[in-house]
C-alpha cells in the first residue's frame, strides 16, 4: 500500500483545526470550573473534614495562622483589634457572613476565643472553613 506524501496544504489543515478544538474545550473548562479569587495574605492549611457545605462568595474571611497572626479580609491585625474590626465591617454590611479559616494546627481554644469575639461584635452568620477530605 502506498501512502502519498502529504502536500503542503493538506498538512497545515490537518494539524491546526483539531488542536484549536481541544484548546477551546480546555479554555471553556477552565473558565467554568476554576474560581478566580484574590490570593490570601497568610499561609493557612485548614482542617480536613467530611461534613460541611459549599461556602458562599463574598464572605468576610478571618484568617488564623499557627504562629498567632490574625487577618481580617487579608489585613493583618493584632488579636485585640479583631472585635473592633468586625464591628466596623458590620456597621457597613449588617448581614455580612464571617468565615473563620484557621490552620489545622491552631489551638482550638484560640479559635473558639476568636469566634466568641466575633459573636460579641454582633456577627450573626458565622462559619468555619474546612477542606473536603476525599480520602475518607
Amino acid at each position: 500500500m502506498k501512502i502519498p506524501p502529504p502536500t503542503e496544504d493538506n498538512r497545515t489543515e490537518l494539524s491546526v483545526v483539531p488542536l484549536v478544538n481541544v484548546v477551546f474545550l480546555l479554555l471553556i473548562f477552565f473558565m467554568l470550573v476554576g474560581q478566580i479569587s484574590t490570593p490570601e495574605s497568610l499561609d493557612i492549611r485548614p482542617p480536613r473534614s467530611v461534613s460541611g457545605e459549599e461556602g458562599i462568595g463574598g464572605a468576610v474571611k478571618v484568617l488564623l495562622t499557627r504562629d498567632g497572626q490574625i487577618a481580617v479580609d487579608n489585613i493583618v491585625l493584632p488579636e485585640s483589634g479583631l472585635v473592633e474590626r468586625a464591628a466596623g465591617i458590620l456597621a457597613e454590611r449588617p448581614a455580612a457572613e464571617f468565615q473563620i479559616k484557621a490552620d489545622a494546627q491552631v489551638d482550638a481554644v484560640r479559635m473558639i476565643r476568636a469566634m466568641e469575639g466575633l459573636r460579641a461584635a454582633g456577627v450573626e452568620r458565622l462559619t468555619l472553613v474546612t477542606e473536603l477530605d476525599r480520602s475518607r
Binding site: 480546555l26 485548614p46 460541611g52 461556602g55 482550638a108 462559619t127 468555619l128
Partner: protein, 141 residues
Amino acid sequence: MRAVCVELEVKSEPAQVRSRRPLVSLTPLIDVVFLLLVFFMLASSFSTERVIRMLTPADTGIVQEREAGAVLVRIGPGGGIDLNGEPVSRSVLAQRIGAWSVSGEPRRYLVQPAPGVTTQQAVAVVDLLKSSGAGSVSLTR
C-alpha cells in the same frame, strides 16, 4: 470528487482568487485563545473548601436556655473523648449518638476542646458527631 472540484475552480475562477488562503487568518485567533487559556489556567484555583455552620446567639435566642439540655463532649489534651463526663471511645460515642438521633430526641451537642487540642482534632470530633446523626453541634471552651 476532489479532482473534479478543483478542475471546476480552475475553470471558473481567475488565477489570483484561486489560492486557498481563507479571508481571515486563524493564527491571531489561536494566539488570543492560547493567551486566555494560559490566563485561566494560572489564575483559577480548584479549592475544595467547605464550611461548617457555627451557631450564634441570634440563631436560638438565649444562650443559657440553649445549653441547659445539651450534651457535653469534651476532648482531652491527648485526644481522648468524654461524653457527659464519662470517657468513651469513638465507636461508643457514635453508637450512643446514633441511638439518640433515632429516638428523635432533639439534642444539642457542645464540643469542648481542652487547651492544646488542635483545630483538626476538634473538627474531627464535630465530623464524627454529625456523621452519627447529631443535628446541631457547637464549639465551646
